[in-house]
């Protein structure tokens, strides 16, 4: 599903002394089937943008076009449930949303709300718990008896169980152990490919953005200042610095390697695998030319 933000502005708490402008003139196109990473310094407005993607927030200026629906500033929007079923959001610290007696019921909450039959919802819950690397026993437990990381996985399962077309992730792995992070990010990527999802990921991990995304958007002071391919964005160290960001570790390592050996690598390495390959190639060439 195509999502288009057209000159979106948003202020929190309009008409109160606490009024706070969070977004100014944000234009962003999220093509159907793309994997978009939104990066930016803390407080730059990333979470605010995300909440526009399923109409939880309505722009105070401009318009958001989600599939064939248009949410426009100043125009009352009705029947947003359809949008919310199609666009699933995993919020920052989603474990806060758990509430039901058992993990199973909690995961089934979303699908049941959207009219998925009971057996189907339960089937999805069982499948997702496994995919997210949780033992089957947790299904019968209270979500409040789980560890923080387990709660996070259950909350993620609760969103995935709605089987959304667009998956919006707000720092889904912040605070998890490194291995668990990788597993969950890989799972999202796998679902992205398998189900042809449109994925939007907000992350502070440049490595994740570089590895998974095919489009990167940089937010800065409530504006979407740059969008482009990760290969281009992460090559421009100076620009990243302007927005208080840095390139992913692989790129930094590549720069150090180039400085140290005087060899120039092909393009820039967005993943460890690519870096290893590029280094191997460069070394082989270097040896040949000697």
């Amino acid at each position: 599903m195509d999502i288009l933000l057209r000159q979106v502005g948003y202020s929190y708490a309009v008409d109160t002394p606490f009024e706070k402008r969070a977004l100014t003139d944000v234009s962003l196109h999220i093509p159907s089937g793309s994997y978009t990473a939104i990066i930016g310094h803390t407080g730059s407005g990333k979470s605010t943008v995300l909440q526009h993607l399923n109409a939880l927030l309505k722009p105070t200026e401009g318009a958001v076009i989600i599939g064939d629906r248009k949410i426009e500033a100043g125009v009352k929007a009705k029947n947003l449930r359809d949008i919310r079923r199609q666009v699933g959001i995993v919020f920052q610290f989603p474990e806060q949303q758990l509430f039901d007696e058992t993990v199973l019921k909690d995961i089934m909450f979303g699908p049941l709300n959207y009219g998925v039959p009971e057996e189907e919802a339960s089937r999805r819950a069982h499948e997702l718990v496994e995919q997210l690397g949780l033992p089957k026993e947790v299904l019968g437990k209270s979500p409040f008896d789980l560890s923080g990381g387990q709660m996070r996985r259950v909350a993620i399962a609760g969103v995935l169980a709605m089987d959304p077309e667009v998956l919006v992730l707000d720092e889904p792995t912040a605070g998890l152990d490194p291995r668990g992070r990788r597993e969950i990010m890989d799972l999202f990527h796998q679902l992205h490919i398998q189900k042809g999802l449109t994925t939007v990921l907000v992350t502070h991990s440049m490595e994740d953005a570089a590895r998974y995304a095919d489009q990167v958007a940089i937010m800065h002071n409530g504006r979407c200042v740059v969008t482009g391919e990760p290969g281009v964005i992460f090559a421009d160290e100076e620009q990243l610095g302007d927005y208080r960001l840095e390139p992913p570790r692989t790129v930094r390592l590549q720069r150090h390697f180039e400085a140290r050996t005087g060899l120039k690598l092909d393009g820039i390495s967005l993943t460890e695998e690519a870096l290893a390959k590029n280094i191997a190639l460069a070394l082989a060439e270097g040896r040949d030319s000697e």
């Binding site: 929190y12 708490a13 008409d15 109160t16 002394p17 606490f18 909440q51 399923n54 939880l56 449930r81 919310r84 079923r85 699933g88 959001i89 919020f91 989603p94 806060q96 949303q97 758990l98 509430f99 039901d100 909450f109 979303g110 709300n113 959207y114 409040f144 609760g158 969103v159 709605m162």
Partner: protein, 265 residues
Amino acid sequence: MMEKMIFGRFIPGDSLVHRLDPRAKILFVFLFIAIVFVANNAITYGLLIGFTLLVVFMSRIRLYFLVNGLKPVMILVIFTFLLHILFTREGAVLLDLGFMSIYEEGLRQGIFIAIRFLVLVFITSILTLTTSPISITDGIEVLLGPFKRLKLPVHELALMMSISLRFIPTLMDETGKILKAQMARGSDIGSGPVKERIKAVVPLLIPLFVSAFKRAEDLATAMEVRGYRGGSGRTRYRQLNWRFKDTASLLVLVALAGTLWYFRS
């Protein structure tokens, strides 16, 4: 939605009202509550409204913001207003609808009670909006000081009060967040039949309670870690000092009481 609520919020500022001593403001509110009950006719209620607007004006808090933020209270006001209109049966009949009639006395009472309610809510809101929770606590603690003799845990009470005040906005924000998360999962508190709406409250309240308890626990630990041992022998960093304008504000109130007394029927 939640962000418009103003209970317990504090808006820093530099108006005369902001700069009054918290003790004066607390006394002011309590005296005012008593004085409101002196009013009993159109003139006196009119004076109360005028006085309240004056206080709002002096606090430099926009009336629009105040009215907007007190919308939930308005519902209560309208409700009591209707109760009076529907159930008072005195005076001349103003309107006869067959199955029920509206009486003159009912309308009068309804309007007066509504004014009383609004005036009280406005003045108390001005207190919390212009006084930081810490100052309110300090004020309450000093004012209740004499009751320490009666073994009343004054310091603890004041602390409890200020913590509650301090956490109202936090919990409001949290409610907003959880509400959004559940809305994203298809629960809809804002629409549908009443039964469905009540059911939709559970997914909101449980996480809210859980997080409130967690917060309380964290706060208790943090206080203990920093050596908090209650009120005895505690010295103060912030000193309250009572100035002429504080006395003056209370005198103004006394003058108001006198005027109301004079005009009341």
